[in-house]
Amino acid sequence: MSIASKANSLWEYANPKKFLTTTERVLPFFWVSSAAFLVVGLVWGFFFTPDDYKQGSTVKIIYLHVPSALMAINCWIMMLATSLVWLVRRHHVSALAARAAAPVGIVMTLIALATGAIWGQPMWGTWWAWDPRLTSFLILFLFYLGYVALWEAIEDPDTAADLTSVLCLVGSVFAFLSRYAVNFWNQGLHQGASVMRAGAITGTDTEEKVSNIFFYPLLLCIVGFVLLFIALVFYRTGTEIRARRIKALLARERVNA
């Protein structure tokens, strides 16, 4: 198969029926593998890694905190991408995937915030500090809420898809702006830099900061979270497709009656 025809075939999955049959086939793989990665990663991290010399056993929270924080951001990026696909190519599956992903993103953001707060309590002596990173996540959470609320509020599904897509676009710009504004607003009050630097797993200084003992189980957990995210989004998109179909069928019933 040539690359060109492969690229073409990607759009075939924009056909809802094709999407449903394909995801139905691959979903068990994603459920099982995400569970496997998560169990191995978390068990390894929880039971078989040593305590950090400075943070004690709280370092074990990293296996939940970092992957969920990563997914919270990646989920929004995915929603931005699918929103753009909807606006440009009008594939319904794309818009519904964004809708299906949003609650997953909310939960990921919540986990990141909750573990951050619980972790921060013994480390910083407070549940909540207006640290730039924490604050950015709180703002991201608000954007998620608004996005979901807009989907829920609008009756007509195409109108809802259009409006939420534009909101996602504009929201992305402002979430990004907020990130820098927040950095500017509270620079240097950073406590426990090692904690948060470890959080920046994608950063260049990762390897020195998080030693390999912590890094490998963390990697497993990240992969597990990614797979779980994919499984959840596939499954939930299927649900949204069916809900959309019910709506369309009922609308047609009303018109034809």
Binding site: F143, T159, L167, F174, Y180, F184
Partner: protein
């Protein structure tokens, strides 16, 4: 375009137009601040710049749900959409009218309310400057939110939920200018950022607002 601006301003100033409500709200919020945090003048002057910015922002928010909803209900928006005026201009004019009737009075009233909150003397100038530069962005962003929720029966609360996160950068930089100004610190950087955000918002967001409005009209 000028006709639309003139009409919106006339409507706002006539009875029932709601002009001054935002201002009164701003006054009340400011008066409530000392009641909630206590009357110590040192404390009040610390929170005065931020408190006034927050009050102004909320007062701006208050009138947003009428911004497009009235024109939607009486069919004016349908007719404007079929008029020679592009919708991008319509939403820009609407935002401008909102700023003139809500934002501008807030800017002018802010120094008076600053006295109530014991704002340090150097802060007055910077408060007015930051509000004057920041509030247009609030109106334009609010118009976008109003365009998103215009077709909804009870869009008011949703509108706040959608618009408030978008207000974060403007609030941060605007209040930062006022705070730094009040304590005699350098204000150029946040002021520049604030002006940049406002300029970019005014230049780009009307396209999104118009696109969203078209979707809602169909």
């Amino acid at each position: 375009m000028i006709a639309l601006l003139k009409r919106d301003l006339t409507l706002a100033f006539r009875a029932g137009g709601g002009f001054g409500l935002g201002l009164a709200f701003f006054l009340i919020v400011t008066v409530l601040v000392p009641f909630s945090v206590g009357p110590q003048s040192s404390l009040l002057s610390t929170i005065a710049p931020g408190g006034l910015w927050l009050g102004a922002l909320l007062a701006c928010l208050l009138s947003l749900d009428r911004l497009l909803a009235l024109d939607w209900e009486d069919g004016s928006l349908d007719l404007l959409a079929t008029a020679p005026l592009p919708l991008e201009s319509v939403v820009t004019i609407k935002a401008l009218a909102h700023w003139i009737t809500t934002g501008l009075p807030l800017v002018l009233a802010a120094p008076v309310l600053g006295v109530l909150l014991n704002l340090p003397v150097p802060g007055f100038f910077w408060l007015v400057v930051s509000l004057a530069i920041g509030t247009p962005a609030l109106s334009v962003l609010g118009t976008f939110g109003a365009a998103l929720t215009v077709g909804l029966k009870r869009g008011g609360l949703l509108l706040s939920l959608l618009v408030l996160p978008l207000y974060v950068p403007t609030l941060i930089f605007g209040a930062e200018v006022a705070r730094r100004g009040a304590t005699g610190m350098e204000t150029a950087t946040p002021l520049l950022m604030l002006a940049g955000i406002t300029a970019a918002t005014i230049a780009l967001l009307p396209f999104a607002s118009a696109a969203v409005l078209r979707v809602n009209l169909r």
